[in-house]
Point group: C2
DNA sequence: GGTGTTGTCTACCAAATGGTAGAGGAATGT
DNA sequence: ACATTCCTCTACCATTTGGTAGACAACACC
């Protein structure tokens, strides 16, 4: 077995399970069983459950950051196009692995030290986004508003819709490929309308 | 002590604690301590934790339904005004007791039977909302789109923003009264822009 | 006064949980 | 050949959790 392989597999399984059922609801035994390894092996790679949670969050934040970075670089200058590119970049992995965003929702419940660590990992990204929104508002290319709250609202919309399929199911939506594309289309139209400068 | 008082106090404490920390993270002992009563007293009123969770959810859904119903009746005919009234009605209790919406987010993780019970409690409300959106789209008073997904998107935005104060804190937001009003104002402007018919 | 009924309690339990102790196998370096 | 380091394991433990058993007091009904 290749070195580091076990660690990787533990991280993957933990990300899926934590995101799906919540950190508290998933025991080390369950993760160990999923990976096919003894519990002590988990505790060898991650000395405590908190350490494992933190590693999962940091990895998730890093992957998210990379995906967003790439999306921004490849998009054209128009802010709505740029935001659309970011949403597309986030939407794809969020749907393929709903665990990832679901996990972020958990941060508030974790021990403060883990939460702070995660937040410090993410805050440069957030600051940049807010500054960008402010700049484009000044140029009149998106609707005038509080850029901090606009960032929060966009985040809430995207995260909420990507992590609550059961809510959509309650309005008769099914997670088929076609319906997923439709959802993404509607989400983007929704955000464009919400952000476009008033005519 | 008045009859039914204990039961009421258990329900209230359980709603707060479940919504704040998650169902799995809150033990019966903690709830009992919060209420100031023995654990067995909880299990007298609610034979199992699942029963307690279900009671909490049904009560929350009922209260939500009543608040929305009242808001709709008192609003004027314009659909955007009507939606604003509903959001205001939901926003107020959600902020005063963030537990309530936070709990609804938990439904997907609970035992299927509890989830279904809750959904059947809520689905008439949802169906009505979707039908209403469809009607107003046909009349051209809100933007043409899939009414089911628009309902989901509005829900995701409101719920997300009301239940994730730590996300807002990461953009420098503080939960003061003034900031709360500002948040509500921006949320309503965001939704109005997202839903208004294209010019 | 006796006989339920209702509501609360103390005492207890089996299972699950996060974590410790330490053995052992397999590479690797010397 | 031997020691060391790396990785995984079995065995165990203290604590916590949801839940049971049953005592006890207050009250109602007759």
């Amino acid at each position: 077995m290749a070195a580091g392989d076990t660690r990787e597999r533990i991280l993957t399984a933990a990300t899926d399970l934590f995101g799906l059922r919540g950190v508290d609801a998933v025991s080390l035994d369950v993760i160990a069983a999923e990976v096919g390894v003894a519990k002590q092996t988990l505790l060898y790679w991650f000395p405590s459950k908190d350490d494992l949670v933190q590693a999962v969050l940091v990895q998730a934040a890093t992957q998210l950051g990379v995906a967003i970075e790439a999306a921004i670089r490849s998009a054209n200058d128009d802010p709505l196009d740029r935001i659309e590119a970011v949403v597309r970049a986030v939407f794809r992995p969020a749907v393929r692995r709903p665990a990832l965003l679901g996990l972020i929702r958990e941060v508030s419940r974790l021990s403060p030290v883990v939460g702070e660590r995660f937040q410090s990992e993410l805050s440069p990204l957030v600051d940049r986004a807010v500054a960008y929104l402010q700049k484009e508002m000044d140029r009149g290319r998106i609707r005038q508003a509080d850029p901090r709250l606009i960032a929060g609202l966009c985040y809430a919309t995207v995260t909420g819709i990507a992590t609550e399929p059961e809510v959509l199911r309650s309005v008769g939506w099914q997670p088929t490929t076609a319906e997923l594309r439709r959802l993404r289309t509607e989400l983007l139209a929704f955000l464009r309308a919400a952000l476009a400068p008033l005519a």
